[in-house]
Point group: C5
Amino acid sequence: MDLGILFGFLGTWVLLGWALMAGGNVFAYVDVPSIILVLGASITVVFFCFPAGNVKRIISVGKKALFHKNRPVEQLIADLVSYAELARRDGILSLESAMADIDDPFVVRGIQMAVDGSDPELIESVLNSEVENTVERHEVGKALYDALGKYAPAFGMIGTLVGLVAMLSDLSDPSQIGAGMAVALLTTLYGAVVANAIALPVADRLALRSSEEVLYKTIVIKGVMSIQSGDNPRVVEQKLRTYLPPSKAAAEAKEAA
Amino acid sequence: MDLGILFGFLGTWVLLGWALMAGGNVFAYVDVPSIILVLGASITVVFFCFPAGNVKRIISVGKKALFHKNRPVEQLIADLVSYAELARRDGILSLESAMADIDDPFVVRGIQMAVDGSDPELIESVLNSEVENTVERHEVGKALYDALGKYAPAFGMIGTLVGLVAMLSDLSDPSQIGAGMAVALLTTLYGAVVANAIALPVADRLALRSSEEVLYKTIVIKGVMSIQSGDNPRVVEQKLRTYLPPSKAAAEAKEAA
Amino acid sequence: MDLGILFGFLGTWVLLGWALMAGGNVFAYVDVPSIILVLGASITVVFFCFPAGNVKRIISVGKKALFHKNRPVEQLIADLVSYAELARRDGILSLESAMADIDDPFVVRGIQMAVDGSDPELIESVLNSEVENTVERHEVGKALYDALGKYAPAFGMIGTLVGLVAMLSDLSDPSQIGAGMAVALLTTLYGAVVANAIALPVADRLALRSSEEVLYKTIVIKGVMSIQSGDNPRVVEQKLRTYLPPSKAAAEAKEAA
Amino acid sequence: MDLGILFGFLGTWVLLGWALMAGGNVFAYVDVPSIILVLGASITVVFFCFPAGNVKRIISVGKKALFHKNRPVEQLIADLVSYAELARRDGILSLESAMADIDDPFVVRGIQMAVDGSDPELIESVLNSEVENTVERHEVGKALYDALGKYAPAFGMIGTLVGLVAMLSDLSDPSQIGAGMAVALLTTLYGAVVANAIALPVADRLALRSSEEVLYKTIVIKGVMSIQSGDNPRVVEQKLRTYLPPSKAAAEAKEAA
Amino acid sequence: MDLGILFGFLGTWVLLGWALMAGGNVFAYVDVPSIILVLGASITVVFFCFPAGNVKRIISVGKKALFHKNRPVEQLIADLVSYAELARRDGILSLESAMADIDDPFVVRGIQMAVDGSDPELIESVLNSEVENTVERHEVGKALYDALGKYAPAFGMIGTLVGLVAMLSDLSDPSQIGAGMAVALLTTLYGAVVANAIALPVADRLALRSSEEVLYKTIVIKGVMSIQSGDNPRVVEQKLRTYLPPSKAAAEAKEAA
């Protein structure tokens, strides 16, 4: 898991908790019916918008997107280059035995197809369709968190209007006006927190994670295609190296120099 | 009907109703003139924006989009593969008798044209133009619900301004100020509820349903074209299987293993 | 004129008027200087944004877009097919005499060019450039009404700020505070009404009307090109029928069955 | 200069001024520190966003965009046709002497290149790159005014928050509360006026002016290319006439009839 | 460093500081917990959204984007033309010794590859991929500052809601109401200042800087390709001159005349 996310997530919530306690009375911020309304309606409305299957799948996608970490791209390239060397030296069938040690199922599937002697076009289309599926899955996940980030503040505002109307309808006890307004404002606060400290950052993260996965899988595809066509390992390395971000490429260039 | 939608729709409204009753006096939230203004003007303004024909057609489209459920894609593929087997074994004309058991008119139309020996290009263009029509119909439906989600809060705000001006023009009885403001806020509440608990979720749903329908119909078209060109049923299955989302494809792969 | 528009327009304004009268004192909502500010500045700022020629032309475009109604597409297709039959039977020159009965100048122009024996490519490019002009004219019209829908609420808010500052600068007579705020809010109300009950619905309508016109004129162009190339009337009908929306196409198919 | 702009600009500001005076005390709306904050910060932040060179160039671009008026397109076409006639009758070199009377440098440059016998492709690419430069210059200008229209209200709101905090921190003299809030609101008012009565209309205008310039220069390029290739003047006229908006084309067609 | 940025940045902050002091008591605007909440949560949430690596790299990118200044494009073109002359006169290998005086590593890399006799296509693809990397790096940087500009006001609003609830929950001492609201509003003020006086202008600047860099590097690539193919220096100059903005091109044309 990316330590930055842990820092980002915990840091945001610690600061929010600290801000609540700074007021002296943290219980003033807890109103169970308001929590049920905002959280509940934000979730039910998401079931209204999306097929139940998606909503369920999305939690796993979200968790995976936040906690799953691909191997560093440099290491992936090094591995693919070593497979290319092996295939060049001992024939492509020799990769069969090497596959037991690979734990990325996507790499395994690609190399298995190359070992099986499948048609290169078929390999590329099968692997590419998996990339498209990954992108679509991430887009569905992002759409769900974006919906949560849109509806949570909306139901927060609805809750506040409900509370204000209740308070204004009965002003007989002026000493209750302040407390009434405080409770009314809580739903707006909950909605803003759900949106800005959970839903929208996760949606942003999913967008980024999606392009990372695409980069990762694109490198695997190019590598497998190169291995299958029997490219020289140095050429494989050169081809894959062009996908590295510039800072890493520069660092490697320095080491090479 | 998708149970998730039922849960989402009822859950959202039960929570809203519960929130209103939590205030103790649910009648404080009912103001008939405000309801007429917000609901009425939201609907009339939609007639102002869209041709009456669309507005009428849209209710049926909306209902169909929410309640209609395509057969699962896996079953569709299995059916198309069985038709391909039949056509391979007994000749394409043998599908004539099988059609009585098919209840999806889109599949029937495609197979009928194949049985009639129509030109493949004609079949594809006729079926594709129906897909385009489906997309356009869903887009018109989504546009209408988006308009409702835009104008309902706007007329809610207009209603609140009307109420505030009325209240502020006559402050002679201070005890009425609270009640006046409460009533004024109700239209904003109604507008927000119409938008966020009806119009916008339906619009989101229609966008999704549209891409589901396109996927479904694309599979039908590919299947019919494959059947007509006399493809091997296993090839038909492979081609159609690439349209499955990855989780289902994986599940099937596991079963196959 | 589309009865739906009349219903939509009148319905919206009757509901607004009824809401104003519900307050008991409709004159509380009339403040002539506020009306002059919001309406006046919304109009002058549109002259600031757009060339005077456009602003003038737009009123006619807007009126035409709202009140002009093309013949139903089905009838247009029937007419074009009957011209194709006439041309097939008696030669294309026989359309010369038929043109006196056609009252759509776009159809007349197309058929006149076909009768004159103009080059097909020239006919298509001249008619297409007229379609592009139509689209551009509608886009300019929509841009103007969108501008009105953007600036009217903005000047409404400016008017309210002006009124609030005036009221707050002189609080010497507390009994005037309510009335002052009421008047200040009126400009916001006017701005919201101009935007949501006039400008934005007209802009939405123009967008739709534009695509209707494009559909209508595309059918005319395809029809004229078919007539000129001497297509069989049945083929002309089949070609043009593909432009019908699916519900109408289905209805016709049923009748045919 | 377009009279419509003058009417639009002056009309908007006269209405605003009249609204301020309607309150009886125009000085209530003048707070020099607030003006300095909103105007000053809106301008400095634009220097923060854009290179100083752009900011300087933009004022001239803005002025030119508002006050410069191209010759009417009809007259441009007539001129280009007359050059085509001259070139046809007396040879293209005869345009050399005619150029002294042309005051549009873009037309002069194009004809000079044609007279010099430059390669047609070179002429077209040089003139096209100038059109691209014009578009880019207008886009930079529009971006700057859009930025002004975005930051002026933002700093207006910041000013209001500063004023509200100052007022709320010291409520010892209740009679000053109204005056304090009035002054606080002034920055929001200034920001809204700068955005809606200056920056955004100018940005809208620049977008339109840009497409006008592109149309104008496109006609010049087509005309010069036609003259250079020795087209018949009537053909030149026909080609250029297709760029006229439909209302003008119709008017000319009527005159021709 | 661009003096305009310095003026823009300092000017904005001097005006803000002056506005705070104008209230008489600058300490009223300093509330350490509020600063920690808004600044802290805006930063932690950015770590939540973006990989820690990006967040770190971005500070350097941001600094470079604000302070780094490319040589003027005219001078770059003059340099490239002089290299072309040298290569033409003394052979391309003579550039080897000239490279010691070039301090732009991008130019050095391009010329080194040309001197090494690399394949032109390879040179172009290597340099182009560096341009793409530059663009992507700037886009990531802009995305981060845009996120800061989105979340800072959101957490400002959350802080204000927290403060309002605290104040409204305990109205026992009315003399504290004003001070409580003032403190509550401070977080909204901080959020608006972070967004509008730091994050959004930097994001705007990065967008511009990105297109400047692309222009600069595109000129280098075209120049290196021209030098490698042995183009006449005058031709090199003509080619590169087409990338100059029109005002500079015109100035040079005047000097040339």
